[in-house]
């Protein structure tokens, strides 16, 4: 349970300590990549809780979503259309759906357990 949290803390401290900065031109790409990563992550957690989790789907989805989002933003910049908004919208909606789903599952589990104890 604590291992993933440790990974997150390690990643954040690594990023902060190395003090890496990217040029402001690429800021958009990174933000959208972060969004895609978060979306995949919550999707993975939801799948795990629903016991339909698949390694291949999760890992491939993670990298594919990031690449797709960045690619869409890149294409948008070159076409003069803000295509990254589409990615932000899609990922944002899915993120909320996934989180809502996780919340419901956990709530159900919690009430079930409470019911059995009572």
């Amino acid at each position: 349970m604590w291992l993933p949290l440790l990974g997150l803390i390690l990643g954040i401290s690594l990023g902060l300590l190395t003090d890496i900065q990217i040029p402001s031109v690429y800021e958009n790409y990174l933000s959208i990549a972060v969004l895609a990563a978060l979306d995949t992550l919550f999707g993975g957690i939801r799948a795990q809780l629903q016991q339909i989790y698949d390694d291949k789907v999760f890992v491939s989805g993670f990298f594919f979503n990031i690449a797709l989002a960045a690619g869409l933003a890149f294409l948008g910049v070159h076409l003069g259309v803000d295509l990254y908004l589409a990615a932000i919208f899609a990922f944002g909606v899915r993120l909320f759906q996934n989180i809502a789903m996780i919340r419901r599952i956990i709530l159900t589990k919690w009430t079930d357990r409470k019911g059995t104890i009572d």
Binding site: I12, G15, L16, I45, Q48, Y53
Partner: protein, 239 residues
């Protein structure tokens, strides 16, 4: 199975955390904003342009030397080397320089004399300040009271006496000769010194700085001591 899932989540979270931290760094510390106004940028541009033209002329000089070497390679390399050596000696201030320039006279001020104040020797700080002003406007060859200034000339107080090249500078009046490359340079230097506040600084020390008109022919004496080399050494043959 369960363990594998955790490891994958950990790796993914590591990547996510890293990305978030990088994004945070980028957003929090934007590159320092350029707050210079038009005028400052123009001034900086002027400075850079001057540097550019200076560098260009240096490159031209060096190219000329190279061409000279190439031409003389078959005929007389020694002559080319001697010419370079002469040029270096001139640049270093080891030869007497005659050419356009101007003369400055430093005298005790009339007010000081009228009040019967003692004439003291000029302070090293004031001399250094004057030299800086001269250097800023291409005063190439300078001699203070007959003592040639070179790159390593010390101007300092030794036992209460102001010295240049460790030789005592006379109490005023004495002369400062400045050699410039062209007569125009001499005129520019003259106008600059006239307009600068340096004369006021002299007046505070009860001295008068008289700036003579630029002349076509000024004689600046050579540096007549040995240059001490502490760090430079002869290269061994073949290096």
């Amino acid at each position: 199975m369960k363990q594998g899932v955790y490891v994958r989540f950990t790796i993914i979270l590591l990547i996510v955390g890293f990305m978030i931290a990088v994004q945070y760094n980028t957003v929090q510390k934007p590159e320092s904003r350029d707050t210079r106004d038009m005028w400052e940028i123009r001034q900086e541009l002027t400075v850079e342009k001057e540097l550019h033209s200076e560098l260009l002329s240096k490159i031209r000089d060096v190219n000329q030397t190279i061409t000279k070497y190439e031409n003389l390679q078959s005929e007389s390399p020694a002559q080319a080397l001697n010419e370079t050596l002469d040029m270096l000696r001139t640049n270093a201030g080891l030869t007497e320089v005659t050419g356009p320039g101007l003369e400055l006279t430093i005298e005790p001020s009339l007010e000081g004399q009228a009040l019967g104040q003692e004439v003291t020797s000029i302070s090293p700080d004031l001399l250094v300040q004057l030299l800086n002003e001269i250097n800023r406007f291409n005063g190439h060859d300078v001699s203070i009271d007959g003592k040639r200034i070179i790159h390593s000339s010390p101007i300092r107080d030794i036992n209460g006496k102001t010295t240049v090249n460790s030789l005592i500078v006379r109490t005023p009046p004495f002369l400062i000769q400045i050699g410039t490359e062209t007569f125009e340079d001499a005129e520019i230097l003259y106008n600059h010194l006239k307009s600068s506040m340096i004369a006021d600084d002299f007046f505070i020390d009860n001295l008068t700085l008289t700036i003579e008109e630029p002349k076509d022919l000024i004689r600046v004496p050579a540096f007549d001591q040995n240059i001490k080399n502490t760090y430079l050494k002869n290269a061994s043959k073949g290096d």
